[in-house]
Symmetry: C3
Subunit: 148 residues, 3 copies
Amino acid sequence: MLKNFHSLILAMVAAFSISAAAPALAADETFADYKYVLHISDMDPSKQELILNNAANLLDAYPPGAVEVEIVAYGPGLRLMFAENIHAQRINSLSQSGVKFSACDNTLKAMTKQLGYEPKLTPDAKVVPGGIVRIGELVKKGYIYIKP
Amino acid sequence: MLKNFHSLILAMVAAFSISAAAPALAADETFADYKYVLHISDMDPSKQELILNNAANLLDAYPPGAVEVEIVAYGPGLRLMFAENIHAQRINSLSQSGVKFSACDNTLKAMTKQLGYEPKLTPDAKVVPGGIVRIGELVKKGYIYIKP
Amino acid sequence: MLKNFHSLILAMVAAFSISAAAPALAADETFADYKYVLHISDMDPSKQELILNNAANLLDAYPPGAVEVEIVAYGPGLRLMFAENIHAQRINSLSQSGVKFSACDNTLKAMTKQLGYEPKLTPDAKVVPGGIVRIGELVKKGYIYIKP
């Protein structure tokens, strides 16, 4: 049996900060064909770390600048992009490395109505009219959809 | 810090009842190219409201009648389509607006066996042989898969 | 109201061990066009049974040998492929039936670092450099992505 279950879970979530081997390409492919949209709409805060690890892992797996990664957040998942989020610094670092962060304006408007003020988002996030519609647009453009 | 965290979460889940701006189209696209399959197989009841909000949001984001949305439920997610579900009226309203609801017969059969009677589904749901197979069929037809 | 909610949930999760009707094919399709990648990265143990049921259901829904199914596990979801997992025997049975199990090496490395020893995986799992990258490769090859 595993002695330290909690540490193990943390390690599993953390796994994606470690570099991965480059993926195999088909004969007619280039790395530029690889574009990923990662989706977060969950309340569970562990999903926040997981999706950031996933993004970092994708950057590591492909040659520098080759892969496109966009994280789209809506619903309870929008919390990832709050200015006060504990991962804000890491988000900034990923953003500097080319990862895009899209925040759902529908969610933002509903929150603002409910709270009486607009929650502040990280400056690294770009507000899009609708998170789900943004995902649809990206998939239509050939992005690979993954929900961590 | 946020003063009213619970209200905020509710607001975030509720966000998708607010109308979104129309999405951008590529030069060779029409809105008719946009078809979405939304998948629910979760126990978490907040996913039920979220997926309905997502469907409503999609209807709002595209011109009337342009977008196709189908919600496929299986496993614990089938509860969304129980006749007694608290969202039954909203499901009926979305169904009237063109959203399709597909309920997994495999799940239904297993439940019936376990309970000794067949749980009643909303009349707005159409029973499909297998929920996961239905998702596969829709993706093959060009539907955009999203798991809220 | 339902008298036995817990049993019901178990029944819903169990639903996918029951055989499904064969899916409809488009005119230009064969069953060989149907390839599925099922993704698990969740902590919730009920997702483990659900994803195995999904895989079994897919095998049942298509003619023998026609469909390809690969389960990719990373993050907390890697626990599915631990040698000590309670579903190990079922995983072996599904593996014998052609389902592939891919375990993320990034996750494994992080766990090993944290624990001081490498957790043993089921021999039915094949280690891939990165789980998320593997999903991307499979989607590019035409696999249908589903996150149970």
